[in-house]
Symmetry: C2
Subunit: 350 residues, 2 copies
């Protein structure tokens, strides 16, 4: 067995990554068995709200970004705000006619606790969490409980499950049929499993590709900005490597200048509307002597080719290359992937 | 004359930086002479809006962030959104009852042009720009024209002038007296001039401090998130050095793990409410063996001590250490400060 094969077999973070498809399947099964989706739909039917607040911290906040984009596109008054910032403004923002959606994998981050403890949330609160009986679970008006199982350190399988939950919540809020989404999520999980079968090859390719890289930027547009920000966060946490997420348009407005200083740019191609703009960014960076790759949907076996899913659940598969990058960069810089040296899984300091 | 003295005298970016106080004074004088503030106040008095959109790209978008925080705190429906993203959603978001505030120093960024050309903006549009007769100036319903003069490359003096403009616009929107803000801005400009007198010493100190730094993170809370994001952008553009901005709370949720990998953390202490939280972050990073400094208000001569201004205009002075950092990092890595190698001043590709 090679060193990489052994790592893939034994490293706890990589095992959590590879558990992603099960996290989605188990959550979908659980929601069907317990009827949680219908409970939320009923609660929402009898509650008239004039605005929606979407809040969380880190990758939990990012998991709400695709929902934010979708609600915006439907002309709904919606605010996507870090819970820490919301704490400063909660008295003005959280009103009786407010629907607050809170995502926290642990359900115990210090900001979530403070928000739920101190302010006595008004309106209706929906919690999305991976932890039964957590503060978020017990203090929300209703919950969508994900079933990703225990996660060792960096958010990976819980992020996929949270994205599945926020997508279905979007269907409920917009009164669209969630059956199609559930089917699409089930097949996406299958495709994700196929992508992971080639993990060893993906990681090898990335190790070769990144040997001279000093800094990674990940960009996208629309919903894919969630993927860009989570990708950068996961890479920083798992491999202690410098990575930043931003919108592709923001990259044009200044950061483009840095492409010759050891930068590697990863661009999510996104939906049809923005595909050409994103592709042109990759081409322009490469033409100027920088290094950039496009993450696209397709069937080819390549770390940057993700499964062919519909636009609405694209963020679920976009995160795969970021996971592979986090492992490759760890191996390259001789760090045990996903090992936390300084922080704990649950953030307890504000 | 030492090499650094010569650079300070001759470099065009540094000259633009040092012109910051004049940019504020000239803009204030111009607004008073032309009565632009009263014109906007009158327009707003006769227009009933139910929501506010704040939009721009890069540091122009950041210059709207303090106004976003202030309007949020007053319970006003407000959305802070990149113009590129707004383009995708404009049909749903920009309605007849919408007040749209657009900031663009050139008034000609491709996204601004597209937004104004293609969509025939509904409701009322206020443009804040440094360029007379630009697309933004001519196509808005009314404008606040800043008088920062020509800027060579990286946004510095135009950013200060834009912040002055958005602060005054906040007074108008909230029907507060802008006379006090104008006085506060005038004295802040004086204090900024005093800070710049010590530029050489500040830059020297920073060069020593940063010799082993590989990566910079700048954080803050509330309004200071504008400063964190602009600081990182300015450093990337001016010195081709890797820098990232985020909220201090977001830094706790994962990125903290990276502090032993050559990171230097700069934390804006912010207003009284968040001061202790920000100070504790700096202390915790230093206790764990990382390197962090706090940007505070005070009288001491130090690159990280900014003038004692009121909370409401704090972002105006917070950007000073970032400017000094951008020059120090350029000198340290033998790059001409603020020289653009790849992009142009005005972003014309989306």
């Amino acid at each position: 067995m090679t060193e990489l094969e052994q790592l893939i077999k034994e490293n706890r973070y990589i095992r959590d990554v590879l558990d992603g498809p099960s996290a989605i399947w188990n959550s979908l099964d659980f929601w069907e068995q317990t009827g949680q989706i219908s409970v939320i739909a009923e609660k929402l039917n009898s509650f008239h709200y004039s605005k929606v607040l979407l809040t969380g911290m880190g990758s939990s906040l990012n998991a709400l970004y695709p929902l934010y984009c979708r609600l915006l596109q439907h002309g709904i008054q919606v605010c996507h705000i870090e819970t820490s910032e919301l704490l400063n403004y909660s008295n003005e923002l959280i009103t009786e006619d407010c629907l607050t959606v809170i995502v926290s994998q642990s359900g115990e981050s210090i900001e979530i606790q403070k928000l739920l403890d101190n302010n006595g949330l008004k309106g209706l609160t929906i919690g999305i969490t991976n932890t039964y009986q957590s503060t978020l679970y017990t203090k929300s008006n209703c919950s969508l409980l994900t079933q990703a199982g225990n996660e060792t350190s960096v958010s990976c399988k819980t992020y996929l499950a949270a994205l599945a939950a926020t997508t279905i919540l979007g269907d409920i809020l917009l009164k669209e049929d969630s059956a199609m989404t559930i089917d699409a999520l089930r097949s996406a999980a299958q495709e994700i499993e196929k992508y992971y079968v080639n993990s060893k090859g993906h990681i090898h390719k990335l190790i070769d590709l990144l040997s001279e890289t000093k800094y990674l930027v990940v960009t996208g547009r629309g919903m894919s900005i969630a993927s860009a920000n989570t990708a950068a966060l996961v890479i920083k946490e798992s491999s202690k490597f410098f990575a930043e997420g931003m919108s592709s348009a923001a990259f044009r407005h200044g950061p483009f200048e840095i492409i010759l200083s050891g930068l590697f740019l990863v661009v999510f191609s996104g939906d049809r509307r923005v595909y050409e703009l994103n592709k042109k960014l990759v081409d322009d960076v490469n033409l100027c002597g920088g290094k950039a790759v496009l993450v696209e949907r397709g069937k080819e076996c390549d770390p940057f080719i993700v499964p062919e899913v519909s636009d609405s659940i694209l963020p679920i598969v976009e995160i795969l290359p970021a996971q592979m990058l986090s492992i490759a960069l760890s191996v390259l810089h001789k760090h045990e992937p996903g090992r936390f040296d300084l922080i704990s899984k649950v953030t307890l300091t504000e």
